[in-house]
């Protein structure tokens, strides 16, 4: 229990550090939100209007005051309001975070549905035509950047074949069919790297299992091959695969930035990019804080699970 409390405290400290660094960094880079807002369209803003807006947005206050106000709001869940349109940052995050997580979840699901069967088949027919083709494809998927794949998918399926919409979003409750249709291409784009990783891990793990003594014994006992594969090979091979999958899920958060942009998927990336461009400080800090907290939470949960499964981790 003490160990878990220590881990929790360290996690909270990490989140505070990230929030503070981002808060200070975004305020230190050049650019004035009021000036930018009133300069839209390449026009000269009236300095009096800029000064008025700065005062209204609280940007004329000392940085330390702004930082203290930011920290004071955190325990209440108050992340402030957008400097651009006064919209609460937390509401924006609550609206968009589920979409980003849905995209990541769909990518991971594709990775599981494609990577595990393909990796198993490739291992079972090691050196065969499928193994060679799938291994080469996996290398290609890992090598090609996500925005290239995304753009190609749009070009082929939306512009040339006209089978799919080019991008966009419809809420699931409003139109489930169209929602899934719009999700499919970005999920493919974001999941392609993970498919390759899962394929490779599965292939390696299955090959490793196939050479183990217990599998040889099962064969010698005359068990049906399908049963050996399901119960003694794949089941045991999945442990490292799922561990890697869980670790990779966090890194997919970074990949969503490009995918959401290319497919116009209104997740967290769009407001984050827009906020950085507009120097919308509360929005940038709020979104980065939530993403960091998610990372830290994921790691914390993993640590706790490992500790439960293996007491040596706690002692270490």
């Amino acid at each position: 229990m003490i160990w878990a409390a220590q881990r929790l405290a360290v996690s909270l400290l990490l989140v505070w550090c990230v929030a503070s660094i981002v808060f200070l960094a975004i305020h230190l880079v050049p650019g004035d939100p009021a000036e930018l807002l009133l300069s839209s369209g390449g026009v000269a803003p009236d300095p009096a209007a800029v000064a008025e807006l700065r005062e209204r947005l609280g940007l004329d206050r000392p940085l330390l005051d702004q930082y203290v106000a930011f920290l004071a709001g955190l325990p209440r869940g108050d992340l402030g309001a957008s400097l651009v349109d006064d919209y609460p940052v937390l509401d924006e995050i609550l609206l968009r975070l589920p979409r980003t997580l849905e995209l990541i979840g769909a990518g991971a699901l594709l990775a599981v549905l494609i990577g595990i069967p393909a990796g198993t088949r490739a291992a079972l027919h090691r050196g065969g035509a499928f193994d060679r083709f799938a291994s080469a494809l996996a290398a290609l998927l890992l090598a090609v950047p996500v925005f290239v794949v995304g753009t190609l998918l749009v070009l082929v399926f939306a512009q040339m074949l006209r089978w799919m919409p080019a991008g966009g979003y419809v809420p699931l409750a409003q139109d489930p069919g169209r929602h899934l249709l719009l999700l499919s291409l970005p999920a493919l784009a974001i999941g392609k790297g993970l498919v390759a990783v899962v394929f490779r891990m599965t292939r390696t793990a299955v090959l490793d299992m196939l050479a183990r003594d217990h599998v040889r014994t099962a064969r010698a006992k005359g068990l049906p091959p399908g049963r050996i594969l399901r119960r003694h090979v794949v089941r045991n091979a999945l442990t490292p695969v799922l561990t890697v999958l869980a670790l990779q899920m966090g890194s997919l958060l970074g990949g969503t930035v490009l995918v959401e942009y290319v497919f116009n998927w209104p997740g967290l990336s769009t407001p984050l990019l827009r906020a950085v461009e507009a120097r919308d400080y509360p929005m940038v800090v709020g979104i980065v804080l939530v993403i960091s907290a998610l990372f830290v939470l994921l790691n914390l949960v993993m640590d706790l699970i490992y500790a439960l499964l293996d007491p040596r981790v706690r002692r270490a």
Binding site: G31, L36, S40, G41, D85, T151, A158, W163, G168, P266
Partner: protein, 504 residues
């Protein structure tokens, strides 16, 4: 091919996709904008995407027809009384979207709010130039300026001058335009519905409009080609040829916005007008058009006065023609025959700014001026520009209207420092000529004054014109009534959505 259970199952997803692709709300028109408007507050400047939506929701006293001529909106007639007074006669049937009639008192309230001390209205300074507003009856507004302003009707036609009901709140402004904002999802889409009591009989022709933001220009074009949207703005130059070649689509493009250079004239060789003229004559503008705009532009060799304008002068428009020999002579006269080192501020965030800066850099190198490129993100570039932390800077914009007075903001060195104009570069004769033209009501005399202003500008180079750039909208051929407005009015094109219709 034999139909098997397996092939049927394989084909099912695509049958489902085909059904889903065809879905579209009946009568809904879908417009793919380049950005989601940060706000549609009537009087504030929040960018051109917001301007399009504002032109759906709001109407001002005046606007423009498709030829670029002023036309009445909430005001059906207008005229000047003496030198400083303008009178606007309101339509009898104009109502706000809450059903209240648009009265002279409403117009007075709007103008006073714009001019207020704590206002962030784009035209606050201009409205503070009003001496008094009289409303002798419900339909007459008499505006007397502190000094004569011949261009006041152009201000009243701006999309920043929409009139709103006095019952508006900061969160919800009630306009008098053809469409009502029905709903939105921040950053994604806006839904607008036709206002059934709009003052123009039979308009708007569309029942519903959905505004969808596509920040990625490639995706915006893909969405049009895939049939996801019925109209897109900011057609990327590299896609224009493909759209023109597509028999299903129409490209409507005009030369409106332009690129130019500004100078920090507070120090060094750039304080000398001969050096600035040398730069103006050294630039290969054709290369800018090719490199930055895929040939979809035109060289701008003078002040940015559109050829459609009645004040356009063909000879003066070529005042800064490419002449490297003259450029070298001017450098020698200025005492820097061997050239000098300097820097060019642009931004890497927008390709057209970066590409333009690169061509300028190469052109200057050819006459001995070695310029280092500085390419921060846009926010930093604006910040550096406003603080004068640059030597030469690349800038792009469009003027507020096709009248040369729109250039004043760019060339008047008496105004506050801004990234859109040169720093420390005052040309009193030019400022006087522009001010005189602004106060002159006789068109013939205004032409003379603007010709004088152009001659002075060609010598002093308060800014250096580089290139007109093509501003395009694209739509299926089934869309009718939408027009890209001429010249600087391209960003006013949203006003034609009231007459837009779509077949099928």
């Amino acid at each position: 091919m034999r139909a098997t259970r397996r092939s049927l199952i394989a084909g099912l997803p695509f049958l489902t996709l085909a059904d889903a692709r065809a879905q579209r709300a009946p009568g809904q028109f879908r417009f793919g904008l380049s950005a989601f408007p940060p706000s549609v507050q009537a009087w504030a400047n929040t960018g051109t995407a917001a301007a399009t939506v504002k032109l759906l929701i709001h109407r001002g006293l005046l606007s423009y027809d498709t030829a670029g001529k002023l036309r009445g909106e909430l005001a059906e007639a207008w005229s000047n009384e003496g030198a400083a007074t303008w009178v606007f006669r309101l339509r009898p049937n104009a109502v706000f979207q809450n059903g209240d009639p648009v009265t002279a008192a409403d117009i007075r309230w709007n103008l006073e709010q714009m001019a207020a001390e704590r206002s962030t209205a784009f035209y606050r300074n201009e409205m503070q130039g009003i001496e008094r507003i009289e409303t002798p009856d419900e339909r007459t507004v008499r505006i007397t300026m502190k000094t004569p302003v011949a261009t006041l009707p152009y201000w009243m036609a701006s999309y920043h001058m929409g009139m709103v009901s006095r019952r508006s709140t900061p969160q919800q402004q009630i306009g008098a335009g053809p469409f009502i904002l029905r709903g939105q999802e921040r950053g994604t889409f806006m839904d607008l519905a036709a206002f059934d009591r709009y003052y123009k009989p039979g308009l708007p022709r569309l029942k519903d409009i959905r505004i969808i933001a596509y920040a990625d220009e490639t995706l915006r074009v893909a969405a049009l080609q895939a049939g996801d949207v019925d109209l897109i703005e900011y057609v990327p130059w590299q896609s224009m040829a493909g759209i023109e070649a597509d028999s299903r689509l129409t490209l409507d493009a005009v030369f409106g916005p332009f690129m130019y250079l500004v100078f920090n004239a507070t120090r060094g060789p750039l304080a000398d007008a001969r050096v600035r003229r040398a730069i103006a004559h050294a630039i290969r503008r054709d290369d800018i058009v090719k490199a930055a705009f895929f040939g979809r532009g035109a060289p701008l060799e003078g002040l940015p006065i559109a050829p459609q304008s009645e004040f356009f002068d063909a000879e003066l428009a070529r005042g800064w023609h490419f002449d490297p020999a003259l450029a070298r002579r001017l450098l020698a006269e200025a005492g820097v025959a061997g050239g000098f080192t300097t820097s060019i501020l642009a931004t890497a965030q927008y390709g057209m700014h970066k590409d333009t800066a690169e061509v300028v850099q190469q052109s200057l190198a050819a006459i001995g001026i070695q310029a280092e490129l500085r390419l921060p993100d846009w926010a930093t570039r604006v910040n550096l520009g406003n603080r004068g932390q640059y030597e030469i800077a690349v800038q792009g914009t469009a003027t507020d209207n096709n009248d040369p007075d729109g250039i004043s903001n760019l060339v008047d060195g008496s105004l506050s420092p801004s990234y859109v104009r040169s720093l420390g570069l005052r040309v009193p004769a030019l400022e006087e000529a522009m001010a005189a033209a602004r106060a002159e009501f006789d068109p013939a005399r205004r032409k003379v004054l603007y010709r004088d202003a152009q001659r002075i500008a060609l010598q002093e180079v308060p800014i250096c014109g580089l290139a007109w750039r093509s501003q395009g909208y694209a739509m299926p051929k089934t869309v009718t009534g939408f027009r890209n407005m001429p010249g600087a009015l391209s960003f006013f094109s949203g006003i034609t959505l009231e007459e837009t219709a779509i077949a099928g």
